[in-house]
């Protein structure tokens, strides 16, 4: 299944999908030192985003989130790619400066946890293999 969305940050990546029904705040919601989601009560609480194709509706929270995503990338704990339903500026800028391939306008309900997913952000496509 190939879905067509919109390019946010360029690049290609392939990995296992980690899917959240809730938004993610990369400042205060994910620990850069480990890549673990730390927000209390979050559907992904305790799970690690490192190397995953991270799928969630949209970003939320502090405008410092862009730097937090960059921090994770520098530590090798960033997701391999990001897929959003609707992007907002904080995650968009975070993905661009961290060079994490990112696509939005994707029907994310069609992606299941553990799916093998190929992201081609340059083409704006997401393929569930």
């Amino acid at each position: 299944m190939i879905m067509k969305g919109r390019k946010v940050a360029k690049g290609t990546a392939e990995g296992e999908a980690l899917v959240s029904a809730d938004g993610i705040s990369f400042y205060g919601g994910v620990e850069p030192e480990t890549g673990k989601v730390t927000e209390k009560g979050h559907p992904l609480e305790g799970q690690c985003v490192r190397g995953k194709v991270l799928v969630f509706p949209t970003g939320k929270g502090s405008t410092v989130g862009s730097y937090a995503l960059y921090d994770m990338m520098k530590r090798g704990n960033a997701p391999a790619a990001i897929i959003n339903k609707e992007i907002e500026t904080i995650v968009a800028v975070g993905a661009i400066i961290s060079e994490i391939p990112c696509v939005d306008q994707i029907d994310i309900e069609k992606i299941k946890n553990g799916d093998r997913v190929k992201v081609d952000a340059d083409e704006g496509t997401v393929e569930v293999v």
């Binding site: 405008t63 410092v64 862009s66 730097y67 937090a68 960059y70 520098k74 800028v93 975070g94 400066i97």
Partner: protein, 391 residues
């Protein structure tokens, strides 16, 4: 697709250096995502992401990397840092934190940024005239710029504001377009507003009521610039709004929306109650957003000849402190035992764990005191705060 000029295309291709290329990457990507047709010139920039507490080592590396060949093209000022850049020892800031914070500011200085660290850039010379396009971060300043000064800016994050500083450009979408600046809902205020906490509570009520919609606020008879500053900080914190109109007071024009809501006296009273945990404060902080010269004079005269019995921080931009010094206000404040905190504030300084209960006249300060520092909060006007802290 965005249409770039020949120069912009060259900037994007790296002909103006790496920092410009990286910045154009961000701005062009944002423009394409949000449907901008072109880039426009900005007159000034206000950068967030200044406290080392928020940036971390990765953020510091990011800035140092851009500083290799990046130079700002327009007047650029900074948000508050994590400490007073000169007086950090008095405020109890650890040495290793101070060292990193100084490196952050040095990186900005290498890029030609005016390293005045304040959330009130409009008090220190960053105040372009009505109608100009700017790229500002800092939610309270964004709201003040759009609503009170009649500037045009989106709510920028740290990296995008810096990208605009290094290129002098921003993508034209959102608040830069007149059609997106029209009121969406009328807010009828049915009670009189007198004090800073009245206006803070009003921002809290309206923000929670209408979120980030653009309000046309009616029923305010008068509001001075300090009250509007407090209102902006509060409505942006609790609602996320970038712009409001206040009939008879703010300078922008707007069409009149159909939808309307009202705010009653009991809602204002309830808001003040919700912003108050009724605990015993161990830190008093005044100056969120940073104080004007007029407010410092008021604080100084109230503190004159008294002694504070609790830790008290008065937060202010450094150039305003200098002017207050000339007039003798700073001596009056420091003689009372209260501390002047320049370049920083209780929101961004690393003070979590050092205090239990924050007393402030700032509705915004209450939000971050609770959320970021796990403080209990007490919300009162300055005369009350000073009376309590000195008796």
């Amino acid at each position: 697709m965005m249409k770039l000029t020949k120069e912009e295309q060259e900037m994007l291709e790296g002909k103006h250096g790496n920092a410009v290329k990286q910045s154009m990457d961000i701005l062009v990507s944002l423009g394409e995502i949000f449907g901008a047709k072109r880039l426009i010139d900005v007159t000034s920039v206000q950068i967030a992401g200044v406290s080392y507490h928020n940036l971390g080592d990765a953020g510091l590396d990011y800035l140092a990397d851009l500083a290799k060949d990046g130079k700002v093209r327009v007047l650029t000022t900074l948000n508050p840092a994590g400490m007073d850049m000169e007086n950090w020892k008095t405020l109890g800031i650890p040495e290793d934190f101070a060292e990193k914070q100084i490196k952050v500011i040095d990186a900005f200085k290498r890029m030609g940024v005016t390293a005045t660290c304040t959330c009130t850039p409009y008090y220190v010379g960053n105040k372009p005239e009505f109608g100009k396009h700017v790229a500002w971060a800092e939610s309270s300043a964004v709201c003040y710029a759009n609503s009170v000064l009649g500037l045009k800016t989106n709510r920028e994050g740290g990296p995008s504001a810096l990208a605009s500083a290094l290129t002098g450009k921003t993508p034209e979408f959102g608040m830069h377009l007149m059609e997106n600046r029209q009121a969406q809902v009328i807010v009828n205020v049915e009670t009189r507003m007198f004090t800073i906490t009245d206006f803070g509570a009003l921002g809290y009520v309206i923000g929670k009521k209408i979120g980030n919609k653009i309000a046309l606020i009616r029923g305010i008879r008068e509001a001075n610039t300090e009250q509007l500053k407090s209102f902006c900080a509060s409505i942006a914190t609790y609602g996320g709004t970038a712009l409001f109109h206040m009939e008879g007071i703010t300078p922008n024009s707007t069409t009149i929306p159909k939808e309307s809501v009202s705010v009653s006296k009991s809602e204002i009273d309830k808001a003040k109650e919700e912003l108050n945990d009724h605990d015993e404060p161990d830190i008093y902080s005044i100056g969120c957003p940073h104080l004007s010269l007029r407010e410092i004079e008021d604080v100084a005269r109230r503190l004159d000849g008294k002694r504070v019995k609790k830790e008290m921080w008065i937060c202010v931009a450094r150039p305003i402190k200098k002017r207050a010094e000339e007039k003798g206000f700073i001596k009056m404040i420091e003689d009372s035992g209260a501390k002047i905190a320049c370049d920083t504030c209780m929101v961004v300084a690393p003070i979590k764990g050092r205090f239990k209960c924050l007393a402030t006249d700032s509705a915004k300060g209450c939000f971050y005191g609770r959320g970021k520092n796990s403080f209990r909060v007490v919300f009162k006007d300055i005369p009350k705060l000073i009376e309590e802290a000195t008796s």
